[in-house]
Amino acid sequence: MTTTVEVPGGTSRGRRVRAGLLLQRQGALFALVLLLAFGAARYGSNFATGYNLSSFTGDTAKYGLVALGMTFVIMTGGIDLSVGSVAALGGVVAIKVSEHGLLPGLLAGVAAGAAVGALNGVLITRLKLQPFIVTLATLLAVRGLALNLAGARASVAAPGGFQKLGNWSLLGLPVAAEAMFLAFLLGAAALHFTPWGRQVLAIGGNVDAARLMGLPVARTTFSVYLLSGALAGCAGVFLGSQNGSVDTAAGLGWELTAIAAVVVGGTLLTGGVGSVLSTLVGVLLLQLIFNLIVFENGEGSITISSYWESVIRGAFLLVVVLLQVRLVRRRNATGRTT
């Protein structure tokens, strides 16, 4: 699943490293299973209902799509801060165009996101500007564009086809959730089984080496920003269709939620290493914390303010980051002794 981490084996230290790596790769999965078991045990049948499952996954889908794009960007050693604004733009555009039908709205939202992604990609690959600051600038500019298109008001979708997309269920799961799961499966397949996926990891691992090997560095880098933009636009479409509107604060801070999910999933921000499915686990985990808080309050025995949500998420990120640091250090130490 995770790639390009070589594991020095043999010694007892090596075994410990391997156990540690397993924790790094699958720690989020362990935590997710534990929390799910905890939820099921504590809140019983209410928690494990199809209703909770479908509303939870439907809500998570937006963040999942954004985090998927972010995963590829981070694997190349870059970052995309503009995704929240792009989602807002995608939602606004989709609502505007959806007057002409559901499919044009959906496509227009995704295309708007892809256009911003392409702009990011051109600025980063052709003008060779730093991804952090380029996408910071587009974060500002695209939010301005989205607000301007919406007339600085919430855009409200006409009742009908477009809103159906958000509430539509297939086989018990919302379409948004199914789109997310499908996107992650395709993403994982692309990473592992296509030359493009290997190029993404190669560029993140060592961009100079990748260039010397003759890999299309600029094209591949461009493509990850394009993908990230398109997925963020798609997330915005689902946001708009689920809520029936896109307000002026839509997508604020999504970039950081997505980065946190990627990191919790075990992808290193230095690039070159990463796992697509672990990001999915990371997203589900961070959202599950919120879901559990809602249930805990529903129990009524104690009331946890929703403000705890961000504190718990931050603490979670801290634990994961410290674990990663320990592992990387131990791996380096082992590398030296063997």
């Binding site: 050693g77 870059g78 970052i79 600025l123 003008l127 060779k128 500007l129 730093q130 991804p131 952090f132 600051i133 380029v134 910071l136 600038a137 587009t138 974060l139 500002l140 500019a141 695209v142 939010r143 301005g144 564009l145 607000l147 301007n148 600085a152 961009v207 100079d208 950081l256 980065i259 946190a260 990191v263 921000l269 230095t270 303010s305 403000y307 705890w308 949500e309 961000s310 504190v311 998420r313 931050g314 603490a315 990120l317 801290l318 980051v321 410290l322 640091v325 990387v328 250090r329």
Partner: protein, 353 residues
């Protein structure tokens, strides 16, 4: 992070061991369309170098002159001091701290959350009848502890700055909200609110504070060992460590300074609003501050600190916004233009290499 130092052909090898604090027009032997001796290599100084170094200042002057001619009542103390500078001062103060952190090749995303925490601590203490001075000192100390947290993660644990400060960015606002359960705290305490409302000599106190902070930071960067160390660590951390620079301590201190300045601005914001609103204080401040630093041409890869550039950048972005809005351009379109200006500044910066 986004660091691709290996990939872009910056002239690092020819650069002097301690890069210059630019913006200070003394260290450079020559400028303009002449040649410049740098580390043994003679190279042409193109207009882009000039544009990179003084572009933000030039843009500020142009905008200023344009407004002086075109905008009614622009050249009044009311407009200059109480609209432009008073609005720019908080961003400038945070941007100075951000510039130092960026100088160490770091970034501080947590400034907005730290503002909210410090404001909440200060306001809560004042409302519980503590002396205003104690409240302020306590708030600044709490902010400094936040910086210590960031710095420890970055310097001792080697966590990437963007992630290390992301933790407090996410959790910090929650902590600030939890202090009062998210409720707004109105306050009326003239002594405490001096930093946000007073106008000694007819100038808003926060403008004084911003200038003071910038002067002190500039002197520290130019005259102290710490200032040199920041540049050395940001320029090449491994080399600086081999040269005996206490890199970890330098980075730690940089984050503490940034957080303490953010805390100060949090107190100013609370004072100016006559209320502590943990939900909104400092929202987006990290972006404003980073943009102010970047628009002045300071590379985000570290090794350079341009204190006055950060101040000029903060005033420039604010003046740009106000100019556009006063010409009937909506805030949203102004935001688009602001983004384009940042990209333009970056593009100029790239040409220096």
């Amino acid at each position: 992070m986004t660091d691709r130092r290996t990939a872009d052909p910056t002239p690092e090898r020819g650069a002097p061991a301690t890069p210059s604090t630019d913006g200070a027009p003394v260290a450079e032997p020559a400028r303009g369309r002449t040649t410049l001796l740098r580390g043994g290599g003679i190279r042409h100084v193109r207009w882009t170098v000039w544009a990179q170094r003084y572009g933000a200042l030039a843009a500020l002057v142009v905008l200023f002159v344009y407004n002086a001619i075109d905008t009614p009542f622009f050249l009044t103390p009311q407009s200059l001091l109480f609209v432009l500078l008073r609005q720019a001062a908080p961003i400038a103060i945070v941007a100075v701290g951000m510039a130092i952190v960026i100088g160490t090749a770091g970034i501080d995303l947590s400034v907005g959350s730290v503002m909210a925490i410090a404001g909440q601590v200060g306001a809560t203490l004042v409302l519980h009848d503590q002396p205003f001075l104690l409240a302020m000192v306590a708030a600044l100390l709490v902010a400094a502890v936040c910086g210590l947290f960031n710095g420890t993660l970055v310097a001792r644990f080697g966590v990437q700055p963007i992630i290390a400060t992301l933790i407090l960015f996410i959790a910090g606002r929650g902590i600030a909200q939890l202090i009062t359960g998210g409720a707004l705290q109105p306050l009326a305490n003239p002594e405490f609110q001096w930093i946000g409302l007073a106008r000694p000599f007819g100038v808003p106190a926060q403008v004084f504070i911003a200038v003071l902070v910038a002067v002190v930071a500039w002197l520290v960067m130019r005259l102290t060992v710490f200032g040199r160390y920041v540049l050395a660590v940001g320029g090449n951390e491994a080399a600086s460590r081999l040269a005996g620079v206490p890199a970890a301590r330098v980075k730690l201190l940089a984050y503490v300074i940034s957080a303490a300045l953010a805390g100060l601005v949090g107190l100013i914001a609370v004072s100016a609003n006559s209320a502590s609103d943990a939900n909104n204080v400092g929202l987006g401040m990290e972006l404003d501050a980073i943009a102010a630093v970047a628009v002045a041409g300071t590379p985000l890869t570290g090794g350079k600190v341009n204190v006055w550039g950060a101040v000029v950048g903060a005033v420039l972005l604010k003046l740009l916004q106000n100019t556009l809005i006063s010409h009937g351009i909506t805030k949203e379109v102004a935001q688009i233009i602001e983004g384009a200006v940042i990209i333009g500044a970056l593009w100029l910066q790239r040409h220096e290499a």
